[in-house]
Symmetry: C2
Subunit: 196 residues, 2 copies
């Protein structure tokens, strides 16, 4: 379950009680704040306390951790997804567009403390995260990848899914180690992708 709010369902959006809507909003705000300071794997209790609600309320609105994280970052993921076609239209070449788009994705991951880590974690509740992000972004990446392949800029045979996961994995880090810069490695990966 990834859309607890039902905001994009097609049916006649069953309106929830006023206090429920208020709490959901409060929770999103509190979660966003806590994620910044304690990472996306902050204790549920901490988020509940910050929002001034009980833990049951969190679980009712966001049955899994992934639901909460997705809800908090949905706008940014959406923006990243929509940037794909735009970049493809505007950039000098499909490969350039791909590179810029990947930059966007990397920026998104590294600026969220622990997001990349959580996305690969096998801890309860995080597997759905993985699924949601990938479902939304893989098609976009595939489009860019195909365009670059058609233009003969990269060698064929690489799948968007694999590339996305690889990039995600490269973005995993602890604290800020100057010896490890995800961007450099992602750049290397893209260089390996390029024909010649």
């Amino acid at each position: 379950m990834v859309n607890p709010a039902g905001t994009s369902g097609k049916g006649p959006a069953r309106s929830k009680r006023a206090d429920a809507q208020r709490n959901q909003q409060t929770l999103l705000t509190a979660a966003a704040a806590v994620f910044v300071t304690s990472g996306v794997d902050a204790p549920i209790r901490e988020i509940a306390a910050r929002a001034g609600v009980g833990m049951g309320t969190i679980y009712r609105h966001f049955p899994t951790r992934a639901d909460l994280v997705v809800a908090v970052y949905r706008h940014q993921v959406e923006a990243c997804a929509e940037a794909g076609p735009t970049l493809l239209a505007d950039a000098a070449s499909p490969l350039a567009a791909l590179a810029q788009w990947v930059d966007l994705f990397v920026d998104f991951l590294v600026t969220k403390h622990g997001l990349a880590n959580a996305m690969q974690s096998d801890t309860s509740g995080f597997d759905a995260l993985h699924t949601y992000f990938l479902d939304r972004l893989v098609p976009v990446c595939a489009q860019l990848l195909d365009a670059a392949t058609d233009a003969g800029e990269i060698r064929p045979g690489t799948r968007a899914y694999e590339l996305m996961r690889g990039i995600g994995n490269l973005c995993i880090s602890h604290g800020s180690d100057p010896r490890y810069d995800p961007r450099r490695l992602v750049e290397l990966l893209l260089a390996g992708l390029a024909r010649n």
Copy 2:
């Protein structure tokens, strides 16, 4: 602390009590078995039960999780480290040697359920793992990297530390997803490293 057995210390190896030595060996065997079935992050209790000892005994012999994991895999890490110079001497070129060595390292990681994951985990007890593996293998990698750079086979500017961590990250996976093959991505990374 990473060498609880003191087997490689230089001092006059203070002999432990017989039962202590026996238990240490039993623990290593039990841990190795449990790691295969439940991953390296298996509950301490499970390992203790498997070995037929109390939990206190584990903590006495291996104060942190990393100590236990390192002890279990020390031989393989050592073998990997020693393979570096050998490959460099035998392979057709430094780059070929590097590629073969990286293959060895990747094999090691992907065949241990959850090792790569654990190595990047910020969960208590695992940070030392990271440190030990890297301390032992980075110099080896650096030697191969330098040789390849000197031979003009790869472009300069890449650090062994970063490369090793990147490879480690790429090896993180869940179950066996046919859509994600760490080897393909590592190959891509190396391709990006190669000059031209």
